[in-house]
Subunit: 343 residues, 2 copies
Amino acid sequence: MKVTINDVAKLAGVSMKTVSRVINNEPSVRKKTHDQVMAAVKELNYQPNLAARNLAGTSSYAIGLVYDNPNAYYVIDMQNGVLSRCRQEGYELVIHPCSYADSDMKTELKTMIRRSRIAGLVLTPPLSEQQDLIDELDEMNMHYVRILSGRGDNKDNSACIYVNDYAAAYEITSHLLQLGHKNIAFICGDQGHKSTTERLAGYQQALADNQIQASEALLFRGDYSFESGVKGAKELLKNDNALGITAVMGGNDEIAAGALFAARLMNIAIPDELAITGFEDSPFSKQTWPKLTTAHQNNDEISQHAARLLFSKTRGARNQDKDITRIFTPSLVIRGSSDAKTA
Amino acid sequence: MKVTINDVAKLAGVSMKTVSRVINNEPSVRKKTHDQVMAAVKELNYQPNLAARNLAGTSSYAIGLVYDNPNAYYVIDMQNGVLSRCRQEGYELVIHPCSYADSDMKTELKTMIRRSRIAGLVLTPPLSEQQDLIDELDEMNMHYVRILSGRGDNKDNSACIYVNDYAAAYEITSHLLQLGHKNIAFICGDQGHKSTTERLAGYQQALADNQIQASEALLFRGDYSFESGVKGAKELLKNDNALGITAVMGGNDEIAAGALFAARLMNIAIPDELAITGFEDSPFSKQTWPKLTTAHQNNDEISQHAARLLFSKTRGARNQDKDITRIFTPSLVIRGSSDAKTA
DNA sequence: TTTCCTAATGATACCGGTGTCAAGGACGAA
DNA sequence: TTCGTCCTTGACACCGGTATCATTAGGAAA
C-alpha cells in the first residue's frame, strides 16, 4: 500500500540515503545510479512522506498564505496560483485567513508557524502593509514575500511584489479625460490601505498632468464595499448633481457596483449622464448593467511569482537577489459603464 | 525557541509519554499529574509538532477539503467553516481544488492523500456526487464526509450532509405562486448536477400541488453561469414574451443575475413585468438591481458540521452513528426582484 | 499489615525521512 | 604500479512525537 524510501532503495539496489539524494536533486550522484533510482521511484510510484521530511529536515516543505481580505475572488486567485507552484515543487500550502483587527492575530500566526513548521509566508494586502507584523516576522527570522500596492518604493531589500495601482488609476483617469470628462469624482476605499493612497495618487496626478485642479469636494472617503459605493455616489451626486460630476471612479469594483446602484436609484443614465469605473476586474464587473470599465490585474501570475520567489528564498538563495522585486501593472479594461460604444 | 515534548516533561517532572497522554486527553492520568503537565504546557507555550504527530501516529492530523466549484464565495465559506473546526481540534487543512473533467484528477487526489497523510476528506458538490470517486475512496478505506444536494435519500450509510434544495425550490415557487404568478419559467443549472435535479423537482412539485401543469416550454436547460442566465431569459422571453411568462426562477444567483441583465436589455421592468429569483444568496445577489429574491443556505454551519462529523469518524467513532446525516434547508429571502414592496 | 488488582507511569522501539561523517571507488599523476 | 584526491555511496544518529508493553504505585480487600 504505502511505499517508503526503503522500498525504493531496495528495488534500486542502493541505500536509502542515495534515494534521498536523488529525489532532492543533490549533486554527486552518478548518472547511472540516478537513473536506476528514478526508475524504481516510477515503478513503485513513490511519494516522499511530507511529515517525515518536515520532521527530519532543517527546512520544511510547507508555506503559508496569509490573508485578511473580504474579496473571495481575490483570495481564491491567490490560493490557486500559489498552490499550483506548490504542487510543482512538492510543497504543502497552509492557508491562514485572519483578521488583523483581532488582538491575538499575531499569536495565532506564530502558533500556526510553529505547529506546521512553516518555511515561509506569502503575505497579501492589506496585511502585507502592516509594519509591526513584518517586524515580528523579521525578528523570528521568518522568510516571507509580500504582495503590495506600490511602485517598487520599499526601502529595505525584502522580497516584494508590487501591484502598480498608481499607474492603473492614472490610466483609468486618462481614459475618462480622453472621453471629455472634466469633473471626475473618486470614491476611496479603506483609509488605512496602501492601495487607496496609490489609486488616489494616480487619479490626482492624471488630473494635474491635464491642468485640472483636484478638488476635495469630489472625493468621498469610504471603504471597499458596495454600501460605501452607494453612499458615496448619493453624497457626491446630491442636490440634483449640484457639483456637475460627469464621471465617478470607484476605488474597486464593489464600490463601482454600489455607485451604479445609486445612480439607478437616482435615475441617472450610465454612461450617458455619468461614467463609472471600477478596479480589479472582479468577475461580477461583467455582470452589472452596464458592464464595468475597470483595471485588470493578473492575480494568477502575481501569486505564482510570489510563490516562486518564496521558494528561492527558503531554499537558501544564491544569486536570486536581483529578482527580488517585480512590478505588475493592472491594465485598463474598457466596458460600457464608461463608454457606450463598447456596451 | 522551539519547545518540545521533552522540555514540557522535564519541567513537569514526568515522562514524555505522560505529557503525550495529557495533550491527547487519554484516560488514566491522575488529576494532579494532569494539572502539573498543563501548567508546564502553558508556561512554555508548548505546541505539539504536527509533522512528528503525523509521522509517529497511526492516524494523522490533517484533513482535506476537495472542491471543483467555480463559486468563489461558496468555496471560501466552506474553507472558513472547516478551518475554524480544524483550529479548534488541532488539525491541519489541506485544500484541494481540482477539476473533475481532468483525466488524472483521481491520481492527483491520491497523491495528495499519500503525501500529506490525509486522515479524511470533506467533499463538496458537485464532486461529492461522483460515484466513481466515492467507490475509489471506499476502496482505499478513506474516511470522508459528503455535502450533497438531497433529502437524506442516500441508500448506503456513509456520512452525508444534505442541502435540501428541493424544499427550498418548493418554497421559492410557492412564494411566486402566492404573488399570483401562474406562468413561471425555470432556467436550470448544469445537467449533471444533483442540485439541478432537486431544484427542478421542487419547482415542479409546487406547481403540481397548485394544479398547474408544468410545461417543458417554460424550461431552459443551461448551466450555472451568468451567460446561461442571459441566454435562457432571452430564449424564454423571445417574440415579445409570446409565452406570457411572468416569473423566471434561476437555478442559482448567477443565472438570475444573467436573467436580470437580459431583462434589462429587453426593456422589461423587474419585478413589475417580470419577477426573477435566484438561489444560494451569494453576496452579489444584494448588489444587483433590484436585489435578488433567493434561498439562503448557511454554509458556515454546514461546513463546520461536516468537519465535526469527519473528526468523529477519523477518531474512530464509538456511537456517532446516529448523527451521521443531517439535512439543512435553505431559507427563502424575499427581495425586490420578485416583490416590489421589499425593494 | 499483607495481598492483590488495577490504575498510573515510564522505557523503548519506531514512524520515514535528512544530516553527518566515514568508507569505498575511480581516476589522474608520479 | 602506487599513491593521493575527489567523487560516490552508505551507516547511523536524530527529528519529535506515538504505540506497546513492562513496571510501579495506590487503594481495597483479606
